[in-house]
Symmetry: C2
Subunit: 323 residues, 2 copies
């Protein structure tokens, strides 16, 4: 191990926090972890590649943040509390400043959610970041894609389409992913793309309230389509109910913003279904979390996602294929 | 998701077996797994990159095998029984025949050890394979690097240096990693490099017998050095006791073969320490597993690994840096 690579690993290792259930963290052949009695383990893995899953110009802080965020979002969509993660980091060169800034972003988000890095490795190669995140949930209570029932309301958190609007603006050269512009709306959109907020508190709070859930990484139509397929149901969406941010609307107009909300990926909001009897509980939850929850449609008999005027097949961002 | 990539994922998904403790496998946002009561979770992650961790010419079957083998070896060195794994696969193109052969090798080894693939993702990019493997072990019984005691015997399994000898022969153009040569010794060496055997049965059997353990991925001096560092002890190795295969000896002579056994990586044998009172139990275990276990030295007060004639600092293969 070269001194440079050793110190790179040390730089990451020293940033990890303690957790009572980490019996043995980084430094042995494997980590040794104590699962909670009566709980189930929730495991997800997502890889981000430079130029594919984020613009190559993205600052390392934001790459670190987003690398963990997309995995926390998957845990959130299952209703799991985050516990542990491992990181496989492929780097073209071991540049200290880059690694420090990456770690700043990664651990800022990790510490917010008390998820602890317990292992992984670094290799030299094109910039690529793979995280496996583990969470826990009381046995039998996880939110699954296959649990939607006909008559359920369809809900989404936050606003949709922002990341897609930001990505298009960046591709058009009218938004700089590297740094804030000082314009509140532009900066809001930039943050939605570069530093998404995984809805962990919402996901865990939905246990016992929601039936099926999914996170919106590939676009509402595509991800809600997964719920429909796995649950053997259809979905009817009312595009006029879609929550659109003022920034997205100002940027590209309402019609295009609605399209971005239906098809745009990378928002990492949750889409979930719940019985109509849960509306009051969900209103209370939205208020408590200070997070808009919007009813956008209903689960129906049949299959596929319809937007009223015409039936719309699953569609979304295609770079990202989960097994 | 393009049809090609969808079918690529399906090809992998259909190869996964059932396991009673996999509540929900591939197909949701995350897998849902039921840990055993009273056990601890053992988690390791290793990445293999083409041209770095294996010759680019390596057949896909062998790449699939080795990708899982290096992770199973880490579980074995902790004494854990393999349970579940996730795979992040970066591929330059989705060639069906390549993926099928890769899956043949990966699942041949997975099925041998009843480890089940529960998730992951595929991305387009330079060939790179990251596995996170999870195993389980009774609470408090895992084999750790930090448990060696002065006076312990030092043991290794199998023979050492074979993979390094094979790698050098391949680099010199005298061994073809792509296919067997029909020469028993050459083919033995090729298999040691391309299709290593993780010592899972040995690792689990060593629980209650061994004190400290590590797998030999970077070379005996380097990996035993980790035990010394973490346990606050030194090690005295007798090079004449090192187990050398007839093939390695025939290929490069005894002196060079001993050097390969000390410094060569990628053998994935286990190195462990045990009290002298365990010698009879270890002889019985070696016989039961039909796997040579060789006493090669002793744990002493001090630090670092000595080979008798001169003190030798940690040294080994440097491509692979675990966090």
């Amino acid at each position: 191990m070269s001194l440079a690579e050793f110190s790179l690993i040390e730089r990451i290792r020293t940033r990890t926090r303690a957790r009572a259930d980490v019996v043995l963290g980084i430094g042995d052949d494997a980590a040794l972890l104590q699962p909670r009695a009566g709980e189930q383990l929730v495991v997800t893995a997502d890889t981000l590649n430079s130029g594919v899953h984020f613009p190559a110009e993205t600052p390392p802080y934001d790459i670190g943040w987003k690398t963990l965020a997309v995995n926390l979002s998957d845990l959130a969509s299952m209703g799991a509390r985050p516990s542990w993660c491992v990181l496989a980091l492929s780097l073209p060169d071991a540049e200290t400043a880059w690694v420090d800034a990456f770690a700043d972003g990664f651990f800022a988000l990790a510490d917010l959610h008390d998820i602890v890095l317990v292992g992984g490795d670094t290799t030299r190669g094109p910039l690529s970041l793979s995280v496996t995140a583990m969470g826990q949930v009381a046995a039998g209570t996880a939110l699954r894609r296959d649990a939607a029932q006909v008559g359920d309301d369809i809900w989404v958190s936050g606003t949709l389409g922002d990341a897609a609007v930001a990505l298009r603006a960046w591709q058009a050269g009218t938004l700089d992913v590297r740094s804030p512009a000082g314009d509140a709306q532009v900066d809001y959109l930039r943050q939605r793309l570069a530093r998404p907020t995984p809805r962990v508190a919402l996901g865990t709070a939905l246990v016992g309230i929601a039936r099926a859930a999914v996170d919106i990484s590939d676009g509402l139509l595509a991800d809600l389509g997964h719920i429909c397929e796995r649950s053997g149901v259809g979905a009817q969406i009312d595009p006029e109910q879609l929550p659109i941010s003022a920034a997205a609307r100002a940027r590209i107009g309402l019609a295009h913003a609605r399209d971005a909300a239906l098809r745009g990926g990378d928002d990492y909001e949750l889409c979930f279904t719940a019985a109509p009897a849960q509306r009051a509980a969900l209103a209370e939850l939205a208020s408590r979390l200070a997070l808009p929850l919007t009813r956008v449609g209903v689960i129906v008999a049949g299959n596929g996602v319809s937007t009223g005027s015409e039936s719309t097949g699953p569609s979304g961002y295609e770079h990202f294929n989960e097994l």
